[in-house]
Structure formats: C-alpha cells, structure tokens
Symmetry: C2
Subunit: 547 residues, 2 copies
C-alpha cells in the first residue's frame, strides 16, 4: 500500500482555502500513485480554532466544506481532520475533534478524538466531547485504526498518567494492523526528537506500522513543525517528511525501515526554522506584505533582521535606524547601518534627540527631580516605538519587535516600547540562544560581525546593569530561568538541589513573578521553548505565592 502524506499549512477558519490546499495535495499524491492520502489534525479548520468553534455557523460551514471534499474524492481515500457536532440532546461538550475517511464521493467513516489535552497551551476540553470507543475499520483488506493527536501519547511521554483510556491499545486489541495518527503538534526545542522516540516505542508495542501526519505552519504563536513519519512494525523509520515545510510525499508501506529512526535535526536549526516560518506565516496570515523594525546595532535586532530577510526577502523588510545622539555616529548605529547594507534592506535614519529633550522638559514640569534610572530608558524605548508605529501605520507594514525571553522574564523591557506591537520574534528565545542563532545565521555569510557576537557572549558571562539594578550574568540567568520556568522547580529546589546562590535565585524568582503583567501586554511571540509565556504558562498576574 502506498501512503500519501500531506503536511498542510492551514489558515484558522478559512474553509475554502484549506479545502483547496487539501484537494491540491490529494491530487498530487494520487498522481504520484498513492493508495490513500492522509492530512493533519483539523486540516480543514486550522489548529487551534479556540472559541471560533462556538460561532453559530462555524461547524455548519466546516461540514459543508467536508461535503465538498467528499464529492471530490475518487477511488483513492482521503483522511481529513475537521470539527463535527456532538449530539444536540445528549449531555456533554457541543463538538468533536474529528477525522473523516472520504472515499468515492462519500464520507465513509467518522472518528472522534478520545484523549483531549487540556494542559499547557491546549484547551480542547473546553469545546470537544471525547469518543467513547475506538474501533478499527477495514479498507481494502487492511484493518485501519485512526487516532488523532494526543490519542497516541503514552503515559511515559507525558508528565504523569493523565488519561483513563489508551486508544492505540484499544485499536490494537481490536485487531488493527495499521495505525494512522493525524496530528497538530506544536514545535518546541526538542519536540521533534521526543515525538520520534514516542512513535518508535508505540510501533514496537503495537507491532503495526504507524503513519504519523503532522501539520505545518504558524497559528496563534505556535509553529507546527511537520516532520511527519512512517515507521514499520518494528519501529524502524520507512520515511520522514521535512520539518517546517508544507509538502507531501508518497511512501510505499511495504518498504522495510532500515535501523533506528534517524535523529531529527539539531535544536538551533529547528529554532531558526521555526522563527523563519513563524515570521513568514504571521506576516502573510495577517494580510501584510512587508515588515518593519528598529535596527539598534544590538544582537537582538540584528538577529531579527537576518531572520526577517530569510523569511520575507530583502525587499519586504524595512528598518529605522535611530540616531540617538547628534554628532559622531555611535558604534551601534554604525553596526545597524552596516547590517542593513549587508542585508540589502531599505532603511531610514532618524534622530530622536529633539523628542527626548522635549519629553524631558515636559517631565520636569510634572516632577521636580526625576531620580528613577528607568524613566529615561523607558522614554527612549517608547519614543523609538512611537516612531516605528507611525512609520508602520502609514506604510501598512507589520512591526517586528526584538525583546528576548530572558529580559521579558525579569521585566527588563518596556511596555509600550520595544517589547510591544506586531510580532515579538525573540520573545520565547533565551539570550544565550540569541547568540547561538547569531552564529548560526552567520554560517552562510557573515551578516553580524563575529567579533561583535564574541564580545556579546563574553558580556553574557558578566553581571549587567539595568537602571540602578545589577542583573546576574545572562549565562547564569538563563540556567536558573530554565529551572524555574521550564522545569517549574521551586526557589528552594534551585538553591538547595542545584546549589545556586540564594540571593540570585530569589532575585530572579521575584522578578519573574512580579512581571507577569508586563508579559501579558507584550507582543505575541513564536513559541520555541517547552513553556512559553502566555499560551503555555498561564500564571495569575497578581499572586503572592513564593516557593
């Protein structure tokens, strides 16, 4: 049997466009000899639809689009992810996260998702009713078991035993000899590898081949990374699809896999690819054609500019370079100009001195003596942002902001300033990874001066000043932040279990806890860590717990 796998990049709620994409991929797979074509979870809907599903005609229109797809399906069956109604009279949530098996103009089979994740960024319990049984069905002599997303996630691969059911086992016990999983699994550092391991264990346990079809593209701060896989019944990889790319592949299931699954690509390449795809999709899906940003000659805005050019092309990236002081050009301004020239992007220089002076004068009218060291910094950031916003609005550009995750964690960024508006490209990238990205982006061509990156890396080993405060070295900060945020360890554990300095840990912890309000007003970002702020980590803004 030849399997066509199509990694679709769906737009949330755009049924006509998604149906068209599915049909194009279907026809291409059929032409390439596929006996069956598989598309991702909610491929017709776009994941995650969130509360859109509650709109009165949403599911109705989804079902109309499904009927259209069924009409267009010939002798080769097509598996599509969509949303169906649950029973109107029976108690329970109103909808189903569903898969349809379309064949010869008809919907032959409907399957509901059984395990509905409601942890991390997932809210599926809010809208969907789970399946109450899982049965395989026979097509062409093969007993096919279809599962959706979470349905195949074994206890060992999630934090704790969460579910009372195990759909994959139920299907295998009912005699399934092929497992198909359609998925919309968001990327985070290490997740493709983790998934590959899971699928290997699953195939070995089930003793059946597994077809895993994952979505691709960015929706709602999540990047779906594709990396679809086909494994044989011993868990060997028969084929894999590329990461971060909408594409299809037709694979002969009778091929035997050769050895263990290939390792997935490396973290830093994955992060680069996720951010590139994120920028591209965000700009396109919000209806913009160009993006603009402030180039400051710092490492963050330099990395964002390189990523943006890779994602959008140099013609579609515009920059403002802020000449903060009249007279001689500063080193950072010079770096900004050189980068813009190297990348070949259009940029304009603008001085903010006069605005700053008049703002200072106004402030002196309302405060006798401004002694707060952050007032100045806040002003500069807000003035930059104000100019960028005027520029963006006038020209219909999307704004890219460049605050990194480490600074957002401890509140060292300015609400209404550099961390606001448009897309926060590095909002989930820790400082140390910003350096790694800079080096990675330099591989092809030295966009960012190597000595400058080295200098920044050196600086990240030292404490740095922010206003009157002294913050710990980024290299230490990022380690402690990872323990505190990603691994959710308590301050006490980090101090006693890992031996970190108590005042440093307590300072960081307090900063993270107190600055939730700032993060909740920051620009949307692109998730690349296991615990992104906002969607994955939903802390109360105001709370008093210290652990």
């Amino acid at each position: 049997m030849k399997i066509g796998i199509a990694q679709i990049n769906s737009d949330v709620g755009d049924f006509p466009k998604n149906a068209k994409r599915i049909m194009q991929a279907y026809r291409a797979c059929v032409d390439a000899g596929a006996d069956i074509v598989v598309t991702p979870e909610l491929s017709l809907v776009g994941y995650p639809p969130r509360d859109l599903v509650t709109k009165t005609t949403f599911v109705e229109k989804c079902l109309q689009a499904l009927d259209y797809l069924a009409d267009e399906t010939g002798d080769v069956p097509l598996i599509v992810g969509y949303i169906d109604y649950h029973d109107f009279v029976q108690p329970g949530k109103p909808f189903r996260n569903a898969a349809a098996f379309l064949h010869q103009g008809r919907i032959r089979r409907k399957v509901w998702k059984t395990l509905l994740p409601s942890y991390d960024m997932f809210d599926e319990h809010k809208h969907f009713e789970p399946a109450d049984h899982c049965k395989p069905f026979v097509y062409n002599g093969v007993k096919i078991g279809i599962t959706i997303g979470e349905d195949i996630w074994l206890d060992d691969f999630i934090r704790r035993p969460l579910y009372h059911r195990d759909p994959a086992s139920e299907l295998v016990e009912s005699g399934a000899d092929l497992l198909i999983n359609i998925s919309a699994a968001p990327f985070y550092k290490g997740s493709p590898m983790k998934r590959s391991n899971l699928l290997e264990v699953l195939a070995c346990g089930a003793k059946t081949p597994i077809i895993y079809c994952n979505a691709v593209g960015m929706n709602e701060q999540l990047v779906f990374d594709g990396n679809s896989l086909i494994l044989d019944e011993s868990g060997n990889e028969i084929a894999n699809l590329p990461g971060f790319k909408a594409c299809y592949k037709v694979v002969d299931l009778d091929t035997k896999g050769n050895g263990a699954p290939k390792p997935r690509s490396k973290d830093i390449k994955d992060i680069n690819d996720a951010l590139e795809l994120g920028i591209k999709d965000y700009v396109k899906k919000t209806g913009f054609s160009s993006a603009c940003m402030i180039l400051k000659g710092d490492i963050e805005s330099s990395v964002v500019a390189c990523l943006a050019v890779k994602a959008l092309g140099k013609e579609s990236v515009k920059a403002l370079v802020i000449a903060e002081h009249d007279g001689d050009i500063s080193k950072s301004e010079q770096r900004a100009v050189e980068l813009a020239e190297t990348l070949g992007i259009e940029f304009k220089r603008v001085s903010t001195d006069l605005i700053k002076q008049s703002a200072d004068r106004a402030i002196s009218e309302i405060m006798e003596d401004s002694s707060h060291p952050l007032v100045d910094e806040g002003l500069a950031s807000r003035i930059r942002s104000m100019l960028l916003m005027a520029y963006a609005r006038e020209n219909h550009f999307l704004m890219l902001s460049s605050a990194n995750r480490s600074d957002l964690s401890i509140g060292h960024e300015v609400v209404g300033g550099d961390s606001s508006n448009g897309l926060g490209v590095l909002g989930d990238v820790p400082k140390i990874f910003v350096h790694k990205l800079a080096n990675y982006l330099n591989i092809e061509n030295e966009f960012i001066p190597k000595e400058f990156i080295a200098e920044q890396e050196e600086l990240s080993r030292k404490a740095h000043k922010h206003g009157k405060e002294v913050a710990p070295p980024y290299i230490l900060l990022d380690l402690i932040l990872e323990l505190y945020i990603d691994y959710q360890q308590s301050g006490e554990d980090i101090i006693n279990g890992h031996g970190y300095d108590e005042p440093t840990v307590r300072w960081i912890q307090r900063k993270v806890d107190l600055n939730e309000w700032k993060r909740q007003q920051a620009a949307p970002t692109i998730r690349v860590t296991s615990k992104a702020f906002g969607m994955s980590r939903r802390m109360p803004m105001i709370q008093s717990f210290v652990d």
Copy 2:
C-alpha cells in the same frame, strides 16, 4: 441550626493571609452563635490560581495551611475551600478542587468538586480531577451535602446540557437534608439575579434548604460579588449577604423565608460596585497605594476619576491634565481641571505641544508626506501615555487607563497609548453604560456636569469620526456588539434576524475580528459583561472566518 456565612476576599496563593482571614471570620461567627461556619470555594487558595497549582510545593503548602486551620477549629465546624492532591499513581489530573469539613482539631471530611467548568474563563479541567461519587455525611443529626461551585448549576441555567452527572440530585437521592454550596462565582451584568433564580429552582426541586456562600473581591480581571444566600426548602430567601463586600452573617436556618427571593440590586449599581471593588483590590493586591491617570475632560476619564476616588480616597488618586494646545484653555481641559478640583485630587498640567512638534519633525524625516489620519491621533495618545508612565514609575503609582469596551471592540484605541498599562478600568464597559455610570456617579453630587453628559448621550446617537473612518452611532454600535460578542450571533443573523443594516453590521464585525491583536495587548480590565475579552472570549488573533 445557626449558619455562619463568611464572604472571604482571598489573595491568590497567599495561604498565611487567607488562613488568617478565614480564622478571623470563623471566630467572629462562633462568637455570634454560629453552629457551623461556611467559607467560599478555594477560600484558602484564592480563585483562580491558574497554573500556580502546578508549582511543586503549592499544594503541599496549601495542605499545611489547612492543617493549621483544622488545629484552630473547635466544637463549631468550619468548611474551607482548598486544593488537594489527586492520586499519585492513578491516571487523571494531579489535583482536586476540594472542600474540607474541619471539626475539633481535625479534618473530618474531604469533598471533591464533581463538575469542573471548562468554558468561558474557566479552565478547571486543566488541573483538577472530578469526584466520582457524591455522598452526604451526618453531622449533629443532619445529613449535609456539600457541593462546590458548578456542581449545582442545572442544565437549564447553562447554555446546554454539559455534564453527565448531577451532584445535587445524587446528594438528595442519598438523603441529604441540607445542601451547602461553596462558590467563587465571578460577577457579570445580571449574574446575581440569575444565580438567585437558580438557587430557588434548586431548593424547590431538592426540597432542602440551601446555603450558598460566594467569594468576594477581584482576582485576575474577575470580580467575585458575594451576594451569598440562604434559602429554605421551598426556595424562599431566609437571608442574603451584601454584594461586593467581605463580611459575615450568622443566620438561623429554622427561620422561614418570606416569599420569593428579593430581587438583587440593579445592573448599574452592580457595575459601579464591581468597578469600585475592582480598582480597590487591584491597587492593593499589586502592592500600590496610589493610582494615577490622565484627565482629558472626556466622559471616560471623568468616570474613571470618580470611581478611583470612591475606591481609593482622594488622597490616593493623582492626575495629569494635558494642555494639548498653548494659548487659551480648551473646554475639555477646563472640564478636566474642574473635575480634579471638585474631587479634590492632586493634578498637574503639562503641555505636550513641544513633544508633538519634535515627533512630527522626526516623522517628516522618515516619511515624505504622512497622509494617514490615524498617525497623528496615535502619536498624541502615545505621548500622553509616555508622560504618565514616567510619572507613575517615578512615584510608584499604578496607572489607570480609560478606554471603553466599545472602542476596544472595534480597535478605536491606541496600543501603547491610552488603552495600555496598569488597569483598564472601563475595558469591559460599553460606551452607553459609561454614560449610565456617569449619571449614577452624579446621584450624590454632580461631579460631571449634567449638560456634558447629556451632550455626550446626544452625540452617541450620531455617527462619529475616527481618523478618516465614520463609525456608526455608539447607541447602534453597542446593540450590534452585544449581539455579535455577548450572544455570539452571526453577521447574517444580525442582519436578517434583527433587521440591522448590512454594511453597518459587516463593518463592525470586521473591525471586531481584525482587532483581536490590539485587545490582546491592552491593559487588564475588570469584567462586567457576560463575554469579556481576554479571559472569557478566547478568539484566535489571526483567523479568516466570517459568519
């Protein structure tokens, strides 16, 4: 039996403080002759704790605090809402939303919540495992059935039959002769009345008295309104507690209720009280002692100033009055100054002319000809906000912003400007309700000139300009927004079912859909409608569905 009901205002995650509050209320009730004391859902934890519960020591510390409370409990039992562990080995969510019956130094009984809401702003399925049985227990000869929050919400009072279980019926069938519900029910316009109706229907059906104890205070944009009730077995009200006030009351259950439940207070008073309590709690719980704002002489900032003075006292409210044009004082500036003087709050006048001029000059460097009508408006708003932020930071004041819900709905406010930062007091108050609030605030004393309010009401009957756009009259806008947002009707339904003008409806719908990104960066607000943006209405930021 005499019931002590204590409406506790809990701080999220502050176990020592919450335990102290509970103990104080308990002792007061005992002194007043209570035979049993009831506190709200999660009274020891603060609702909603969100992902705080996943912190490694959170539940451990909660249980320590519960032990402390048990130790302090004497012959009069105390019912406390807290979080417990679910089984460590059994599959399921790790925690329980729980109630403890404390008596004579011990935890006599633990009850788990059965129906876990995961709609609207509720996410309880994310963390909690539901109870698998509901049994009453005997205390002092009375068979008591304890339920938590959602457990008593009958199908008729929620949008559709959501649950497969009905804890209240299970308890009644097992012979319960008293139902106690501990709750943390957030306020929205009309919710106290709806709850009162529900409880009446429930008591009549169960033929038992009902004790309903609700939380009070603001946490995470939600205001819990108290309004606890005791009904006899015929659904008659025996006693009620005030709305929006932390307090306790001891009530003799053997008193018969006299007739139907009293109507709860009127919408506009409730909204006023919710906003007042919201401001007060937000300022206090974020650790500020004063708030500052910009007084513009418009109806929104005037209403916010009045509410802030009622909530915090005039000494704790500071204002900036922007003199936008040199020379003669404008009417709105004069109104701002008069209001500040009437309220007796400290204010400073500051001119933004020079900043605006220098910003215009900088902008002319980057754009040949700024033709976008909103660039100017955006600049003015951001300059105001920038000054306020400097002022707030220097003096450690919390900022209050005053954008209303109608403008936020259609994106007619400025990110990084007036809609940002601090607390968005009117972010969930539609324009027409802002007028009603202004009149309500004027009842005691004419703070806001009556003619001005009348003039504004008159204007809200006319189309208004925003940049080059003409927006529909607010009075029409608010009606259509309510249908589209609160009742989730489709554009088609609003046009064909309600007969509204198609271009107007489509314009509004498009504005609402396109401006989700702005709202997601707006300041946190105080929920007063049934579908507040953000917590209750979680739409994708980028989506293409039009209904």
